[in-house]
């Protein structure tokens, strides 16, 4: 029995190892090709490692950073993601606490609308949203976070509500009796207890905002501001013949920071995703 079990386990590990290699391969292939010279990137040689002749060093990366405006796009992406997620976390946790604790038709309707907004596809509002954003001058990277707050509120409020319901009411009542006003109660008592949910919501919203393509494309002035997904997409449209080397270097430059952040915080990320789903 135990012998059979170790044999089965060995087979499973071998299978999982093979699958892992297959999982990483697409990224590895792009990485390999970014190190080749432009002429060496053809469909027949794409699966080969770079050789002494075709090795281009970091030339493709330099050209991606210098001539393709990568750094600027990176800056805008960071700015938008950071402001949006911070705003979502503060405003939505406050709102979720309020609508869970104060019962009444206002809370009920708001909760229903938030849940509805999670299911409604973006295409439903994309045209009117971009015109509304133009009208209210919310079309720069500095204030597009208001739009993200509006559109990301559904998921955030939903998850915060799920958690607030499990927080005992007595703690909050005690702090009120001790003389805290609701603002103090929220920031000193409730918010610290919400920490794990703040991490989950922050991760999910950051993944969404960072990778979002269509919303910034429609809302921002594309000639002035470009986020990273917009930059990658532009390679297809406006260049006559796509320069594969710099394009793939751009892809790698986009992926590498994500992978570093992921490896550093994978415990929280995986936990956050699992917690988010259980609440859902």
């Amino acid at each position: 029995m135990t012998k059979k079990k170790t044999a089965v386990n060995g087979l499973l590990i071998a299978l999982l190892t093979a699958l892992s290699v297959a999982w990483v391969y697409p990224v590895f292939m792009i990485l390999m090709n970014t190190l080749k010279t432009e002429r060496a990137i053809t469909t027949s040689t794409a699966f080969l490692l770079p050789t002494a002749e075709t090795f281009a060093g970091v030339q493709n990366y330099v050209s991606a950073i210098v001539s393709q405006g990568f750094l600027q796009a990176l800056g805008y992406s960071l700015l938008i993601t950071f402001t949006s997620v911070a705003l979502i976390l503060i405003c939505c946790s406050m709102c979720a606490w309020y609508i869970t604790r104060v019962k009444g038709w206002v809370s009920k309707i708001l909760y229903f609308l938030f849940v509805l907004s999670m299911v409604v596809p973006f295409q439903m509002v994309m045209f009117t949203l971009s015109s509304t954003a133009d009208m209210l001058k919310l079309n720069t990277p500095w204030n597009i976070c208001v739009i993200y707050l509006g559109f990301g509120a559904g998921l955030a409020v939903f998850m915060f509500c799920g958690f607030v319901r499990s927080v005992p009411l007595e703690v909050e009542e005690a702090s009120m009796i001790d003389g805290c006003n609701p603002v103090q109660t929220f920031f000193l008592i409730v918010l610290p207890m919400l920490k794990p949910t703040l991490v989950s919501v922050g991760i999910l919203e950051a993944m969404w905002v960072w990778n979002d393509y269509l919303l910034p494309t429609l809302v921002l002035d594309i000639k002035k501001y470009m986020t990273i997904p917009m930059l990658i997409q532009r390679f297809r449209g406006s260049f006559g013949r796509v320069e594969m080397g710099p394009m793939m270097a751009c892809i790698m430059l986009t992926i590498i920071p994500i992978i570093i952040v992921y490896l550093a915080g994978q415990k929280y990320i995986i936990k956050g995703v699992a917690a988010g789903a259980v609440k859902g």
């Binding site: 990483v24 104060v102 973006f122 439903m124 739009i147 509120a153 990778n211 297809r236 789903a277």
Partner: protein
């Protein structure tokens, strides 16, 4: 406490509510109204009734996109959930290296749709040219399967994490009791574990189903609807109706399509939630 809180309501709900009104409620209502109008910008809307809807149903490309989306979603939901569940089973056996495998399988999920699309476009085109088949731009079958492979690669890790959480929550005494009663491992899986992870199945089918129907970025980056709109999904079809054509008749039609799309997605997710929720068991 409620009364004290109510006095502070502007501070607590107003910021989120205002942004929500700007970002969702107002565009939603205006969008629903505009689907009954002819317009090129929001200002010049002219009420025309249900003409846009009639023309949307008459658009054969829209119907083709619908069937393509359905075919894609059905296959991808089934594949992603089955494979993710199998992965989760393997990763809850306390094997060596479980953490590394989990980390690797989840990784593609963090990469955005546009970037994923390009990675797979390059890879698939290279494979196709090596075996002497037409490239993605001319090959609808490859486009379809390419999208499915891409979505599997991206989403299996995410769903796997949810299934792992579900499987780990199954109490040991339940599976042990089943074993003592003489259940085979397969019976334990089907009769004990599967009913116990039903909540995870509900969430995962919900997520994969809505993701499948709403898919846009990956579709745009991998195939861009080529060849000749054959791999154009609903979301991308609506986008093209809005922005790839000029003329007063298109935007209203696009908005009507968007309303239909919205009703479809909401209805399907409600039905799915109802169907799988009813199979959940209480512990």
């Amino acid at each position: 406490m409620e009364r004290a809180l109510k006095r502070w309501s502007p501070l607590f709900i107003l910021p989120t509510f205002l942004a929500f009104a700007i970002g969702f409620i107002y565009p939603f209502v205006e969008g629903a109204y505009l689907s009954l109008c002819q317009f090129t910008t929001v200002r010049d809307a002219k009420f025309i009734g249900f003409g846009n809807y009639i023309r949307a149903f008459g658009d054969s490309q829209f119907l083709d996109s619908f069937w393509f989306t359905v075919a894609f979603t059905v296959v991808s939901v089934a594949l992603i959930n089955v494979i993710a569940f199998l992965f989760a089973l393997m990763l809850t056996k306390n094997l060596k290296g479980t953490n590394i495998f989990r980390t690797v399988f989840f990784m593609p999920n963090l990469i955005g749709g546009i970037v994923l699309g390009y990675i797979w476009q390059i890879l698939i085109n290279c494979v196709l040219s090596l075996v002497g088949k037409p490239l993605l731009a001319l090959n609808a079958t490859a486009g379809y399967w390419g999208l499915i492979i891409l979505m599997c690669w991206q989403q299996i890790g995410y769903m796997m994490i949810i299934y792992i959480a579900g499987l780990q929550a199954v109490p040991d005494d339940l599976t042990e009791a089943a074993q003592i009663d003489g259940a085979t491992p397969l019976q334990t899986l089907l009769r004990v574990k599967l009913p116990m992870v039903m909540p995870s199945i509900t969430i995962c089918t919900f997520l994969t189903l809505t993701n499948g129907f709403k898919l846009f970025d990956q579709n745009l980056a991998l195939t861009a609807g080529e060849p000749n709109h054959a791999t154009e999904m609903l979301a991308y079809n609506i986008y093209n109706t809005f922005y790839a054509r000029s003329g007063p008749q298109w935007k209203g039609m696009g908005q009507a399509k968007a309303v239909l799309f919205c009703i479809l997605v909401v209805a399907i997710s409600m039905l799915q939630l109802k169907a799988t929720r009813s199979r959940e068991v209480q512990q």
